[in-house]
Structure formats: C-alpha cells, structure tokens
Amino acid sequence: MSVTPSAEFLIPKLKSDVIISMLGRGVRPNGRKVDEVRPITVIKNYIPNADSSVLVKLGNTQVLTGIKLEVGSPFPDTPSEGNLMVNAEFVPTASPVFEPGPPDENAIELSRVVDRGIREARAVDLSKLVIIPGKKVWNIWVDIYVLDHDGNLTDASSIGALAALMLTKLPEVEVRDTGEIVVDRNNRKEQPLLNRSVVTVTIGKIGNYVLVDPDLEEESLLDSKFSVAVTDDGLIAGLQKSGMGYLAEDELPLLVNMALNKGKEILSIVKALLKDS
C-alpha cells in the first residue's frame, strides 16, 4: 500500500526561503543555473566479478551499477528474445532515511522507470541474446545500488545503467552436441551489446519554478518531479510524473524541450567519459 510519506529530509525555513527567492531570479544557491546538471564522473569496471560495472557520481550522489549475464530460459511468450531485468536497491549506507529490507515503492518506481526507458528505446536488441532459439537465451541483470544519496537518484541510476550496458560484451558460447552450453567469459564478442543510447532527465518543480537535476536539499522542496527518457536521436522513450504535486498543462512543452536538450548533453558527456580513461 502506498502511503503519503512524512518529510524525510527537513531543511531550515530560512534556507528554503533563500532557495525559492533565488529561483525567482533564475539562480540556485549551489551555483548552478536552473538547467545545469551536476558534474558527472564514471569509473569503469569497478567490480571485477561483474560482467560490466560502473560507479557513477552525479555531484555527490553515488550509484554503483553492476551487470551480470546468465544463461537462462526465454519466457514462453517471447521464445526468440533474451531478457533484461533492472533492479534497484537503496542500501542503508546511502542515507539516514534508508532502512534495510526489500525495495520500497521508491526503489521499485525508479527501477521500472529506468527499465522502461531502456526497453522501449530498444537500447538492447533482445533478439540478439538468443543462444538456442526457444530454449536458451542470455538474461541480463542490471542491478543498481544507490550508495550515497544527494538527490536525483533516477538520473544517476539511468546514467549508471546506460554506461554499464555500453561496456557490456557478450561472452563467447559453445553449444556442445549434448546440448550443454559452455560459456567462455575470457573471450567476448567484439560487437557491443548496446545499439541505442537512452537516458532519463529529471526536472523538479517548486511552485512555478523548474530546475534540472535537483540535489537533496532542492528535492525536499519539490512539489513534483518529471522524468523524461531521451534517446540519442531526440525521441521521447518514456515519461513519469512523480511526487505530490501536478504539472500544469501549458508548461509541459517547456519541460519536455528542456529535457530533450539536457538528454542530448548528458548522452554526449557519458559517451565521452567512456571513450577516454
């Protein structure tokens, strides 16, 4: 059951007044412009045991994404496709308000928003994950661990999932006559798994003010959030309004345009980060 949450992170009234009055002048106390994303850093292959992994920092928000590839069976309704599963864990190291336990509604919503973006943009061609048609396919597990929470977990997670998928290469497999499948993780296919890039851009609303990539202090003041999944060819591959507030009908074109521009920017930053280093 979903229950109205109590304010989890309180900031002094004085501070919130300052944030709101500065937004009125188009600036933020953290020095960012209203449409400015925090610095993004990516550390590649952070987890030796994962098939691919990234530690993403979006400002002070840290998210660790690991991908595990497993040989499994296809679902009966999609015999010629592999499977992609996205899961998010808000680990209690990340915030004083995170409790140990199974994913709560926020973690579930986040993972489903990230999943939908990747799935609907066909970022991964699931038909290329077939090993034996109808019998054996690759299952891709994308596990997102939020390590440190300083706001905008959705976009940090989405960047993490994208970067980890960009680094993923399928292992070579040998199918023996007996039907046995031998996986050679030391030899991987040249062709990268990802065939289209997609990332979410989250815009926060405080009253009539909008701001991109809200940090934790700003998030505590948000009336609502709007996440847009943006593809590298400028299409919308998913939307999610969340939070207690609403979106005004006439402000939506502005929000979507803002997200499309920022999405393009974030995608090129992530691509550049993965190319060098």
Binding site: S2, S111, I236
Partner: protein, 242 residues
C-alpha cells in the same frame, strides 16, 4: 511493444470498430458499496474497476499519521481472475508502482489539511482488466472520494492514449497496448487544468507527444462530464415515499 504482427488500424477504424479518437463505452456508478464511505464502479469497455474510500479515520498504525494533514493510503490491486491468465493475488512490482502513481494522481486535488492526524484510504480492485486499468482507477477513486464527502479542489479523470500502427489512438485496450508502439496514461483535473498523472511506455516524437496530450485532454473532458452526471444522478434520484 510493437510486434507488428496484428493489424490494429484498417480503413481508419480500430480492431473493435472504433475511430481513433473514440472512447470505449463508459459506464459509471457511484455508491455501489454499503460499508464504504464512498465507492464507485467504472467500466471502460471490458475494463472494470471498483474503488472504495474509507475515512478520514484513525488508522491501525498510528505512526504513519502526520500532524498537519491527513495521509492518503492507496492500494491498486488486480483480482486474480481479472487477467487472461490467473494473476497471483500478492502485490507485484507493477501494482506497487501503480499504487504510488495513483496516490500521487489524487494528492493534488484532496484538501488533506482539513483532517490532520487521520488517514483517508483508497482501495482499488481491478475486477476485469482489458487495458487502461490505472486510468479507470483514477476516475473511480476520484468519484469514491467525492461520494465520501472528502473536500476536493476538483475531480480527476484518466484516460490512456496509445500509438498503434503509427496512429495516435484514444483509450487503447489491452490488444492495442500489447501490439502498439506506445501507451501514455494521463490523468487530468480539468477544472484546474492540472495534469496529476503522466506516464509513457513506448517511443514518441516530441510532436506526437503534444498531439497525444491534446487527445487525452479531449477524452478526459468527456469522462469528466460523465463523472459529474453520475454524482448528480446519485443525489437527484431520491425517491419520496408517500
């Protein structure tokens, strides 16, 4: 997911004979349960959703209470027989997400500050699922809240717009959702011009998004009129006994 195996639009008509901008037959009944403070049964074609509201009341678990407002508790649940194949009655991840999204579609219109330290409970049971269950849920829940006498800034109504065979279509059903290219559920409080639920599963160009939203707005306005009619009917159809 666009599989393109099924022809969804032929000669401008959809597989069930509807035009692209045509809603399914909608029926709304208010006050269908004796015990609930408010209730509504909403049908969009073969989709059938029951919503019940209890409260404002004192909840079992006092720790969830807030000092300055009522908390809204919301559960979206699909009956095990509501789907083609039996669905496990335990809450799925989808149902957990939708419970949150539906609660957040209702939060903006409920004047919760009037009932501090209470809980307003919205229980939604999908009796039969044929696409558009979350939007029918919002329509039903908003009516149940109104019938429970909970002060609201306005009614909310929902409808989904889809993209099928390249065309935008209003109020898509399960087949169109399954084989179409996109599904965009929307809930709007028309009197406030506020969008309280907006999701998209699928790919749209920015231009298609604007058109889809406009199509949804038109659909919601029709449903909003039906909501008002249903509420009026409930209170005007009073029989005087001689």
């Amino acid at each position: 997911m666009g599989k393109g195996k099924v022809k969804l639009v032929e000669g401008g008509l959809r597989h069930d004979g509807r035009r692209l901008d045509e809603l399914r037959p909608i029926t709304i009944s208010v006050g269908v349960l004796k015990n609930a403070n408010g209730s509504a049964l909403v049908e969009y074609g073969r989709t059938k959703v029951l919503a019940a509201v209890y409260g404002p009341r004192e909840p079992q678990m006092k720790h969830i209470l807030l000092p300055n407002r009522a908390v809204i508790r919301c559960r979206y649940h699909m009956a095990s027989f509501s789907t083609y194949e039996r669905k496990s009655p335990t809450l799925s991840r989808r149902e957990i997400e939708l419970s949150k999204v539906i609660r957040e579609a209702l939060e903006p219109v409920i004047i919760s500050e009037l009932y501090p330290r209470t809980s307003i409970d919205v229980f939604i049971e999908v009796i039969n699922a044929d696409g558009g269950t979350r939007t029918a849920s919002v329509t039903a829940a908003s009516l149940a809240l109104a019938e429970a006498g909970i002060p609201m800034k306005g009614l909310v109504a929902g409808v989904a717009v889809g993209k099928i065979d390249g065309y935008l279509a209003l109020d898509i059903d399960e087949v169109e959702d399954m084989y179409g290219e996109a599904d965009m559920p929307v809930a709007i409080a028309p009197s406030l011009r506020q969008i309280t639920l907006l999701q998209l599963n699928g790919v749209l160009t920015p231009g298609e998004f604007t058109q889809a939203l406009e199509l949804a707005r038109k659909g919601v306005e029709v449903i909003h009129e039906m909501q008002k009619e249903a509420l009026k009917k409930k209170y005007l159809d009073v029989k005087v006994e001689e």
